[in-house]
Symmetry: C2
Amino acid sequence: MAERGRPRGFDRQVALRRAMEVFWEHGYEGASLTELTAAMGINAPSLYAAFSCKEALFRESVRLYEQQEGLMVADAPTARAAVAGLLRAGALAYTEPDKPAGCMVVLAATTYTPKTEGIRDHLRERRRAASEQLRQRLEQGVTDGDLPPGVDTRALADYFTTVLNGMSTQARDGVGRAGLLAVADAAMVGWDLLTAGEAGRSEPSASR
Amino acid sequence: MAERGRPRGFDRQVALRRAMEVFWEHGYEGASLTELTAAMGINAPSLYAAFSCKEALFRESVRLYEQQEGLMVADAPTARAAVAGLLRAGALAYTEPDKPAGCMVVLAATTYTPKTEGIRDHLRERRRAASEQLRQRLEQGVTDGDLPPGVDTRALADYFTTVLNGMSTQARDGVGRAGLLAVADAAMVGWDLLTAGEAGRSEPSASR
DNA sequence: CCATTTCTGTAGTGATGACTTCAAAAGTCT
DNA sequence: AGACTTTTGAAGTCATCACTACAGAAATGG
């Protein structure tokens, strides 16, 4: 069995974690091969042998990020508690000391050059998946009976996803943990009215 | 009087507008000199003669963006109407047909490489200024008496700024005008509870 | 007219981007 | 041991980056 040939001189998982941290902080385009290899402690040929190309390394980094740092919809008895937990978890995660502020999936590739289109689409899909997961939890609330049947779970998920996305920018801008937790709480204040069946929907525009 | 020497062969304002659109869509680093000059209809030496360098061109583009496309805190009789108007204006502005989705100031430089630190700091400052403007309007509401004296205007401004920032990402991700307007309305639903003086603040979920 | 000033296009500058070539090194297999 | 396989470091490839040198073009002042 075993591996033939000269054995790899570095731990692939450790190197990947380092790469992920660089991407998290500097984004896809902002992370140069020079910086990546320096952080990973290896030379370019080793990187390419182990990870194929920069884009593949980034995709693996995203997967690792989601596993190790990503938010999970909280395991809670009600939809309300799950969403509140998610928002508060985001506030905490985006302000971890000694880690880059904000969410890698939200911040790593906001602008699109032709050559990074694949990256952008991939991250957008990951965000869409996260929003959909949230929506599913809201649907579960309807099934469980803690949300009324008529509630617009798509609109609700869009709203809370918007707040979470915005928290990433705010974290990068220096809003601290207490500030983001206050935002999370503020976003929950309207919950009862928002989830009151068709009520909120009939008021068009809320502008007056 | 008059200008000596060969007159400029292009309209500086028109060229700047084109440059701004490129930066808006592709961000600072994503906009190459090649693409910029192509969009502006000029060659590199003309660009440098008129705008000094890429960073100066970008800063001027940001100023133009804020003048022509930026959100203003709505001119409304109450703080509530002003904020509601601001959110709805954001939903509309970020989904203008034939314009890049989302806000240039939020999206043009989320990640920071060493060489774009100045750009990032400049945009962060612009965002901070926008948030501060919103906070001032809330303070005005306290002065006018349509908000109670104890209201935490900093926290409120942070919350609505977060929603606006998040709307930019959502717009880039394809959430349409109706979706963003629904988000704007959802963000306003908790207004009465949020602005009920010290009420919301006494719940100290923010510290754990 | 000529001198002066400023702009414009062509063509290049050095630096840095992602990625490779290649021979030596370091293992396994028989 | 020696054939084989794979990794590693040093150096190099080619494209693209922001930016510029330079000479000719197009205006004004005398």
